[in-house]
Symmetry: C2
Subunit: 344 residues, 2 copies
């Protein structure tokens, strides 16, 4: 049904001529056509208006022809639907007037009916599928419960998420209740997304790397694994854990279809830690897109050779930076499309 199914084939571990490519945050601020929309509509309007979200989603596909689209949205739409009212504050980013920091606040967090509160996301998926016209697959995403929890407790972005960790270590029962509420909501949310038409889902654990290996098991991985188990029969699941190299062995034993890795893990070590048993996605340093297009192309070719062309999805190791030149983003995508396997 999908004309370019390279991405889905890589997720299934099939042999391919070249790996598929997409970029985290590919629908974003480095694109002038995105900035034009951003100048007219605020953040939550862009997320909640299906015409805008679908248009933003397909912008990078039109310009560069990646092998997968990812629905424009935000991980914080989930807590918003749970009665945790995030704002976007100028110069600060996500902001909560009343962070969730005690049992009483956790009790007030609801598990919403997805269609009532997040129906607009499903409408955006349908609108995007129309625009994509079965050319490439569409990815839906959610934050990991731990990462969403970090924002809910800290109340804003942070370098150390010390308040979130303090809550876990001083009020573990309340913390686990909140994590479970987020998990339950996320499972229902992702199931609805699959029903609405996404071809795969990705879970972003942006802040899992803040935890020790033991605490990661308790406060992050256990909840991610619940999501994988509930989704695995309905959709491929990709888990991207930034800084979570220490958990790759456990992750590889799960029913995830692919694991995202960041650029601190060499391709060789990533393959070693995951026992060559799972599709990997990544891991170009987003700041390396500041190199010249020629250098980018040779680094990408080298990266593909090191990961191997099969069971591999070319991506960055984190979101593309807003100041990356358009030609450099193009060089990244083109290098993959022009890839020729090494003659051994």
């Amino acid at each position: 049904m999908i004309k370019n199914d390279l991405f889905l084939r890589a997720l299934r571990g099939e042999t391919v001529d070249r790996p598929p490519v997409w970029m985290m945050r590919q629908a974003g601020r480095y694109l002038p056509e995105f900035i034009a929309i951003r100048e007219k509509y605020d953040f939550f309007t862009r997320c909640s208006t299906p015409e805008l979200a679908s248009e933003i989603t397909v912008q990078p596909i039109r310009r560069y022809g990646m092998d997968a689209a990812i629905l424009f949205s935000d991980i914080l739409v989930v807590p918003q639907a749970m009665n945790i009212p995030f704002k976007m504050k100028e110069g600060i980013g996500p902001w909560l007037d009343h962070p969730v920091r005690n049992q009483n606040a956790v009790d007030q967090v609801i598990i919403p009916e997805i269609q009532d509160s997040l129906g607009y996301v499903m409408e955006a998926i349908k609108a995007t599928k129309e625009l994509l016209n079965d050319e490439v697959p569409l990815i839906g995403f959610a934050g990991s419960p731990w990462t969403v929890f970090c924002y809910c407790v800290q109340g804003q972005g942070s370098k150390s998420f010390d308040k979130a960790k303090e809550f876990c270590f001083t009020q573990p029962i309340a913390a686990h209740q909140l994590l479970q509420k987020i998990t339950t909501t996320t499972i229902a949310y992702l199931k609805e997304k699959v029903k609405a038409g996404v071809d795969a889902v990705q879970i972003f654990d942006s802040w899992g790397g803040m935890l020790s290996p033991r605490d990661y098991q308790e406060f992050s991985w256990g909840y991610i694994n619940q999501i994988i188990e509930e989704l695995k029969d309905e959709s491929p699941v990709i888990v991207f854990g930034k800084g979570c190299w220490f958990a790759l062995e456990d992750m590889a034993r799960s029913n995830a279809s692919a694991l995202g890795v960041d650029w601190t893990v060499s391709p060789k070590l990533a393959r070693q830690l995951t026992g060559n048993a799972i599709t990997l996605q990544g891991n170009f340093d987003p700041a390396r897109l500041f190199s010249s297009p020629g250098e980018i192309k040779s680094m990408v070719t080298k990266m593909i050779n090191e990961f191997g062309k099969d069971r591999y999805i070319v991506n960055l190791g984190h979101g593309i930076l807003p100041t990356i030149p358009l030609d450099n983003a193009k060089a990244f995508i083109d290098a993959v499309k022009e890839y020729q396997p090494e003659i051994v």
Copy 2:
């Protein structure tokens, strides 16, 4: 000469009854006696007045009796002496009006005479040695060239130090010139510190973990290793690389006396990666000091058992957080002093 030489013996790899303990940022904002001084004197006054710096340095030793003191100072005194005039901006932290971002700016950076520009640090060391009265050793420190470079180019703190990396990847020649100037200055600075009386030096590579393993070799480790080679015959050198787990194997082959590790690396893996061949320092999650004193004590005991009591210095995996209760810091130190080796 030094009465409690546990720390120095651990650095030499000698057998000890219990490991020594100190905490990164132990002279800092969690202590009411530090806050009392901070209310009267601004940041650079505290660093540059020997009476204040020495008093702040010994405050935690008086209260808790750690096995080593670390001179109160800041990594940014080095670029300040190099004609890079950092300010402390309210609510932002270190700030440069004119970040170093081109060849011309690099050319204007000077390699200073240490006694002229940083003599006050040597005075602070002498004053501290008087106060310490040979009870415990004194550690001197510097930022790694890469970490200092990050602030000089970014002009302020950052989550990704994208401007610093952009400078490296678009103007590598100028970037290496700046890194070398910082390295040359740091070597001279640390040598003067040793002459003034510090018993060991620690290099803080707080932002090395932002780099890929390959870029780390080029932009960080090579310069740190220059420092180690120049200092090794005069003083033990400890290298702490936050997020630099991927470089531990190379680091362990250097002439450093000890390596600091953060809490994302399990003790077992840290020993494995360093081939059991070097003293390790760390790696308690600073946020785990929010746990109860009882829990802290049992986690510390477990950590010592996992690292092993020899070739080990108990520490946090990063600086102590300002909001940690005093009793919890005490529990951390006491757990080490009360440590009894496991009966196998």
